[in-house]
């Protein structure tokens, strides 16, 4: 096996090829419901991390599914897929949402920010990302993208939160490793309070 072909690249390649196949299959079935007023189109534009992406989206598709399996943005994790863990947290118009429990069709004309969009173009990490590293936030790391997005949402709304406010803001994100205090330390550090 080619040592340069990482697991991540392999997954992305598989996703890209299946999108091409899937996007062709649904065109005919979609036209049946368009006769009703309010029926949704399948080919839609999404604003993700400041870029406009044209995607073929099923009516019932969740944002987490679109991000991971249509756009190959696997930074957004699917943990429970039930809105009960927070691993899939993304920002929509700067407000934290569970991407697993959001229909992709409901985010048209809204700005989606995922973990991939946090670092600046020159590769500098977002203050929250850097603070989480400095405070040893991630252990297994699975919940980290969601924790980071919840923290970013909080700091956009409240740049100098108290520790209790941070605790409330991150309460919709479960950490199986129990690194909650580390993440809270990270939020305090990212907001320049430690």
């Amino acid at each position: 096996m080619n040592p340069n072909l990482s697991r991540r690249h392999f997954i992305k390649a598989v996703i890209a090829s299946s999108v091409a196949a899937a996007s062709h299959a649904g065109i005919q079935s979609a036209s049946a419901v368009e006769r009703h007023r309010g029926a949704v189109e399948r080919l839609i534009s999404l604003n993700i991390n400041g870029r406009t992406r044209r995607v073929d989206v099923l009516p019932q598709e969740t944002l987490a599914h679109t991000l991971r399996y249509k756009l190959g943005m696997t930074g957004t994790k699917i943990g429970c897929n039930r809105g009960e863990c927070g691993a899939c947290t993304v920002l929509i118009n700067d407000i934290a949402h569970y991407a697993c429990s959001t229909l992709t069709h409901s985010v048209r004309a809204r700005a989606v920010l995922t973990i991939e969009g946090l670092q600046s173009t020159d590769g500098t990490l977002h203050p929250v990302q850097q603070a989480f590293i400095d405070e040893l936030g991630p252990q297994c790391g699975f919940c980290t993208p969601g924790q980071a997005m919840s923290a970013v949402a909080l700091l956009k709304e409240n740049p100098k939160p108290s520790r209790e406010e941070a605790r409330q803001a991150l309460s919709g994100n479960i950490c199986r490793c129990g690194a909650y205090d580390h993440y809270l330390n990270g939020v305090m550090r990212a907001s320049g309070q430690s």
């Binding site: 419901v33 309010g38 949704v40 599914h65 039930r82 407000i95 934290a96 229909l103 409330q168 309460s171």
Partner: protein, 329 residues
């Protein structure tokens, strides 16, 4: 039971006008599933436990969204999010009870999208029912929770009839206490329903927790000024502070003359299939002052008539203690 990563194939409608939405619910009838924040929807669909024929997303309809002052109180559009209710200065000032209740719902991300209409319209959380078993509530002919081996620590103390599930909504208790009115619309017209009549128990309707008809949409909730700025108490006891539904919750409104209670409403969540009024407590509270002695006297009345199941006896002292805490000076 199989669980799926992906949602089933369901057509989605995102009408921009209330008229279009009403036509859609009329057209699809029982198969039409009205979507607010969707947080009580996607689990049903992913589990294939309910199979609607169409999703009708109301969030694009501007007329259903927002908080307005009326001649007599407030009108809250059905798709107003819990986040907006918690942050609203008018609600904070006059109806803080509702903001407290809304702030205890689920988790921050769910409150960010969860709507008032969805919160009061959500379905029972009995795990047997949610699992897709053919229980009474699902149209079958037995109750799994109220059986010798049934796990029923979260189930009802009062008013069970075949089904023993409880009302899961935190805002419902506050709205019943505040004597809110629910506005429902269909293609045939408009109906105003007192919050207390909006929530129905299994004796009235075994497969539906509200009095909404399949062709109706809840469009708004009106809160009268009657209790504005009175003394409020809300408390929810749950296993975890986040996500979990109430084991028992209490919403209390009181008008005072000095230190004396002139009028009050006590409503418990998590103990019956609907928000449960404590009429005896309300009657006995009149003329009393807020004190530990009053609390002890009223607590004894709170749980009268309770019929506990195998595992939910603990809810009786929980209810009584919540009444005590509401009466602290």
């Amino acid at each position: 039971m199989p669980s799926y990563d992906v949602m089933p194939d369901v057509p989605l409608f995102q009408p921009a006008e209330i008229g279009d939405a009403l036509n859609l619910v009329e057209q699809f009838g029982k198969g039409g599933w009205v979507l607010g924040g969707g947080q009580d929807t996607y689990g049903w669909l992913k589990d294939r436990a309910k199979q609607p024929t169409a999703l009708i997303d109301l969030n694009g309809i501007e007329a259903l969204h927002g908080i307005r002052q009326t001649d007599d109180g407030l009108e809250i559009g059905a798709t107003t999010t819990l986040r907006e209710i918690i942050a609203n200065p008018l609600i904070k000032r006059d109806y803080e009870l509702l903001a407290s209740a809304a702030s205890r719902v689920a988790s921050p991300q769910i409150r960010n999208v969860g709507t008032l209409g969805g919160n009061v319209g959500q379905d029972a959380r009995c795990w047997y029912y949610r699992r897709g078993l053919a229980c009474y509530r699902a149209g079958g002919n037995l109750c799994y929770a109220d059986s010798p081996q049934g796990m029923n620590r979260e189930h009802a103390l009062f008013d069970a009839s075949r089904c023993v599930a409880v009302s899961p909504s935190d805002t419902a208790t506050a709205l019943v206490a505040l004597q809110a009115t629910m506005i429902a619309r269909s293609v045939n017209g408009r109906r105003e329903i007192a919050a207390e009549d909006f929530f129905v128990g299994p004796a009235t309707h075994i497969t539906n927790m509200t009095s909404l008809e399949p062709d109706e949409i809840l469009t708004a909730v009106r809160i009268p000024s009657h209790w504005a700025g009175s003394r409020f108490y809300f408390e929810k006891v749950a296993d975890r502070d986040v996500w979990d539904f109430a084991l028992v919750s209490i919403a209390v409104v009181m008008t005072m003359d000095g230190d004396t209670i002139t009028n009050s409403r006590f409503v418990c969540g998590g103990v019956a299939c609907t928000p449960y009024r404590l009429h005896d407590v309300e009657n006995a509270a009149r003329g009393r002052t807020l004190s530990d002695e009053s609390g002890d006297a009223l607590a004894a009345l709170a749980s009268q008539g309770a019929k506990p199941l195998n595992y939910n006896h603990f809810k009786i002292p929980l209810m009584e203690n919540l009444v005590r805490r509401a009466m602290r000076g």
